[in-house]
Amino acid sequence: MTLDSSRLGEVEQLVLLAVYRLHGEAYAVPIRSLIAEAGISLTRGSIYITLDRLEQKRLVSSAFTEPTGRPGGKARRVFEIRPAGIAALRSARRALDRLAIGTPLERKP
């Protein structure tokens, strides 16, 4: 079984959306906070695992910021969604909409 970058799991969709919304400021702490505001609690480990997976699928890219000025300060790893990630989100959204046609969950235009 190989990893199919176009198919997203539920957690991957949530994290990818959070990265998209945080645009340039997306790292583990605010991503988790944002998802929690949406009513879903994820463990810290699942956030990191999902970010790692998404990066391996090349749906997001990461960069290290400069270390903080105080002694012992660490670099922050911030994530940015890539075009392939946006396309994957759209694809996942369309798949959900098509499946929901004819059900009470169908979205009205």
Binding site: L3, V29, Y48, I49, D52, R77
Partner: protein
């Protein structure tokens, strides 16, 4: 960040470590309470476990088998070759380092192979070869050759195919075909079925047939070395003649590759194989030629040796009704041939074990050294690795690339090591001391040795090649590309551990060599009670020419007189030879004993000048006189000189001179009682430093001369002396060859052969270890100086002198040396127990050896670091800072 949190973060993958630390600190607002720290550490561990497990699962899911195993392997191999060519100097250094370790290990394994797996070189299919030993449980004795037909008939239905015998009689006088000079040769007499049992094939001509062997034709088979030395390896050797002990034998064939090492007590390759039926003519001195010790046989595969043994014993028991009761008591016992030879070599197995231990330490040292050099190369190329990782290379691919490089280096090193092993085994084969290890005459690098070499090479790859691969795969991409210094802290610790390990291993070998050499020095300088350096020992064997014992004794005495007429005033005779070292259980009865008691004594028949020639002082009474020498054995009492230890043991309570005692003497096979009269007491002597002092009785009744010698103390040692001695022997009997002409010191050196081999080899290993450790220290110090160039430049700019910088470098070397010495000393203190049984006069923790070891290591470390320290001292701060 507290230590607990730092330890917890070590579990997090490298590329997430900083980010996770940052995020967890942010979530806890950087609080430094214990609770916050515990929480952060717990979260870090949970995150790390999740990441690692998930990555592993994805890794297995992601790649296909083909891509995982072989895709890109060709590119890695080409890259390894290119890298090797580009960094030729370091590649050669690594290859040379590993070749030394692999070569030494392979050479020693060749010795093991010859000893354990090829105990019958030249013989076909050793697995079905057997030896039949005569004796009683726990006692080796003899049997009779007359029982052969009965034994063969009884064994045949149970799988016995052939049964034969060969007797190694030692030295015979052989007239060299070309020069006509008499010289020594080793001769063995073979019975029917001996060659057949071994499955030997001649390399020229043919072997003796069964009929020729038993009937005693005037034929002989010679060895390949004799063929080369005396017949120029000519094809027309068949039909040529050799003269052995005055009798002419026709050469029928040549044996190659088989040297008679199966024969008990054999210490020299057999030169001449003659028929057993000719033994009575050629070896008149041998008293009972029907006696056999060990027989050689061959059985069919699957033969039950216990059943065969029972059948042979039943047959011998039946035959034994015709034998004297004592001879009939010794039964035949069947053994696998290899077991018997192994038991004979047990005394040498301890030497092999020590040698193997030493070369394995050297191999570890060379692996550590090579690992350090390769690690340095890996660290130098870490930027390249970081770029590859950043461009999408997987860490497995990076690790595989480095493993392939290591494997390529090991392959070249193994080939070089095998070549080195062949050179080393060729050198060992030629050593005189090798004669004490009979199987080592045939040393080859065969398939088994190559297989072991391959296993060693694979272990080397694991030992030293995996480390750089792991270091490369764990490269912190961000840290390296952003030039963060802590990105290489882990490899630095590995590097320091390796160099400390090298120093510790070098200490093991240097200290061991020091102790072994000091022990040898003590043995060589031990006072044995006689003069070893100024006395020549001339060994003659007139009985080998078929002379009777009376005629043999006369020849020896005539030779003594002839030597005295040559102007050599100090000449004596002794039977047995000095340094013989063994005694016999004899019955004696002194004044204080109510009945005869059996004690272990040494007895020697000596001429009057014996004590003067050997420098043994007479502490009471006198030496034996010329008139007492050669008296008839029937005259009682027999005048004797006894040793001080004999007086202490048996003659206390009264002055020893003038006392009489009963002693059982041996002459041939008959024990003849004598009353001995003490005329003098001589100082104690012993055969070796480790040998015990035996109570000794010196008498003047001449026994069989076979194991005796003429002793000469010349006024001067020069080439003319040897001519005079040879001339004197020739005038007495032109046919008599000189068996040996050596100093007593060289006889002692022969006895110390194993200790000398160990001392020499250990010194060689220690030297290699020192050189390897030196190169390891030099490489590490050079790396440190290169990495700290900026630091040294700043220090120099701030006013540090060249001496300060040099001292800084040397202090670092001193710390590493100290750490290595502490670790090495701890290991040596435990491992030295294996040396205890091999040393004399010193302890395993001998102070002088330990001090010399420390001095050697310190000198080596300082010598290795001198150049880098000098380079550090000369750093130009401007150049150093500009280069950054």
């Amino acid at each position: 960040m507290t230590r607990l949190f730092r330890w917890a973060l070590r579990v997090v993958p490298n590329d997430w470590r900083d980010a996770v630390a940052r995020d967890l600190l942010e979530e806890t607002d950087g609080r430094t309470t214990t609770r916050a720290d515990l929480w952060r550490a717990a979260q870090a561990i949970r995150i790390a476990i999740g990441l690692r497990f998930d990555r592993r699962r994805r890794f297995v899911q992601r790649v296909t088998p083909r891509a995982w195993t072989f895709s890109g392997l060709g590119a890695d191999i080409r890259d390894a070759v290119r890298t090797g060519r580009r960094q030729l100097a370091s590649t050669i250094a690594i290859v040379a380092t590993l070749a030394v370790g692999i070569g030494a290990t392979t050479a020693i394994y060749c010795v093991f192979d010859a000893l354990l797996f090829r105990p019958t070189p030249g013989a076909a299919d050793p697995s079905t070869l057997i030896s039949v030993e005569f004796g009683a449980p726990g006692v080796r004795a003899y049997g009779t050759r007359r029982a052969f037909p009965s034994l063969r008939a009884a064994g045949e239905p149970l799988g016995l195919q052939f049964l034969g015998d060969a007797v190694d009689v030692g030295s015979v006088a052989m007239r060299a075909p070309v020069t006509g000079d008499s010289e020594l040769a080793t001769c063995a007499f073979v019975s029917s079925q001996y060659f057949t049992a071994l499955g030997l094939r001649p390399i020229a001509g043919r072997l003796l047939t069964d009929a020729e062997a038993d009937a005693g034709a005037d034929l002989a088979v010679i060895s390949e070395s004799l063929w080369n030395a005396h017949f120029g390896r000519r094809d027309d050797v068949v039909g040529q003649t050799i003269v052995v002990n005055g009798h002419t034998l026709n050469v029928v064939g040549v044996i190659g590759g088989f040297d008679g090492s199966m024969l008990p007590g054999n210490n020299a390759p057999v030169d001449v194989w003659a028929p057993m039926g000719r033994q009575d003519l050629l070896m008149a001195s041998m008293s009972d030629r029907d006696i056999v010790g060990d027989l050689t046989g061959r059985v069919r595969a699957g033969t039950s040796l216990p059943q065969l043994q029972d059948a042979l014993q039943a047959a011998y028991r039946n035959f034994g009704r015709t034998l004297p009761p004592r001879d009939a008591a010794f039964m035949p016992y069947v053994h696998q041939s290899s077991e018997l030879l192994l038991s004979r070599s047990r005394s040498a197995i301890g030497v092999y074990r020590l040698m193997m231990g030493g070369v394995l330490i050297l191999l570890l040292l060379s692996c550590a050294n090579a690992a350090n050099l390769l690690l340095a190369r890996t660290l130098a190329g870490r930027r390249d690795v970081a770029v590859r990782l950043a461009l999408g290379a997987s860490r497995w691919r990076i690790a595989r690339r480095h493993l392939v490089q290591s494997a390529a280096i090991v392959a070249v090193s193994t080939a070089s090591g095998v070549g080195l092993a062949m050179l080393l085994t060729a050198a060992v084969r030629g050593l005189r001391v090798v004669s004490y290890l009979p199987e080592i005459r045939v040393l080859t690098v065969n398939g088994r040795v190559l297989l072991s070499c391959t296993c060693v090479a694979a272990a080397v790859v694991v030992l030293f090649g995996v480390l750089p691969a792991i270091v490369a795969a764990r490269t912190n991409v961000h840290g390296v590309l952003a030039r963060v210094s802590r990105a290489v802290s882990a490899p630095h610790r590995i590097r320091e551990s390796l160099v400390i390990g090298q120093i510790a291993l070098a200490l093991l070998l240097v200290a061991g060599a020091g102790v072994l050499n000091r022990s040898l020095q003590k043995e060589l300088s031990a006072d044995l009670g006689l003069d070893l350096d100024h006395v020549l020992q001339l060994t003659l064997r007139p009985d080998d020419l078929g002379y009777s014992s009376g005629r043999s004794a006369k020849v020896v005495q005539d030779t003594v007189q002839a030597l005295q007429q040559e102007g050599l005033s100090s000449v004596a005779s002794s039977y047995p030879v000095p340094l013989w070292g063994s005694g016999a259980d004899l019955r004696i009865q002194t004044r204080s004993m109510s009945q005869p008691e059996k004690h272990t004594l040494a007895t020697s028949s000596v001429s009057p000048d014996f004590f003067r020639v050997l420098g043994i002082p007479i502490v009471a009474g006198r030496a034996l006189s010329a008139s007492e020498f050669g008296e008839s054995p029937s005259i009682d009492p027999m005048p004797v000189v006894v040793s001080e230890s004999f007086v202490r043991a048996f003659l206390q309570g009264a002055p020893p001179v003038g006392q009489q005692f009963f002693i059982e003497r041996s002459r041939g096979m008959a024990m003849m009682p004598s009353t001995a009269l003490v005329v003098g007491v001589a100082a104690d002597v012993r055969a070796s430093a480790r040998g015990r002092i035996l109570p000794t009785v010196y008498h003047s009744r001449i026994p069989d001369v076979r194991y005796g010698a003429i002793l000469i103390r010349p006024d001067r040692m020069n080439a003319a002396l040897l001519s005079e001695i040879r001339g004197a022997v020739q005038r007495v009997d032109p046919a008599l060859p000189i068996t040996a002409l050596t100093t007593l010191r060289s006889t002692e050196l022969d006895d110390l052969a194993q200790d000398r081999v160990l001392a020499r080899l250990s010194a060689l290993l220690a030297l290699c270890a020192l050189l390897l450790a030196m190169s390891g220290v030099a490489a590490v110090v050079a790396q440190v100086v290169a990495e700290r160039t900026r630091d040294f430049g700043i220090r120099s700019a701030l006013g540090a002198s060249a001496r300060d910088l040099g001292r800084l470098v040397l202090t670092g070397v001193g710390v590493r040396l100290l750490a290595g010495v502490i670790v090495g000393a701890a290991i040596y203190a435990y491992a030295s127990r294996w040396l205890v049984h091999r040393i004399y006069g010193v302890t395993a923790l001998d102070t002088t050896s330990m001090v010399l070891t420390l001095m050697a290591l310190t000198a080596a470390g300082l010598a290795a670091s001198w150049l880098p320290a000098r380079r550090a001292a000369r750093i130009d701060p401007v150049v150093a800072l500009r280069a950054e």
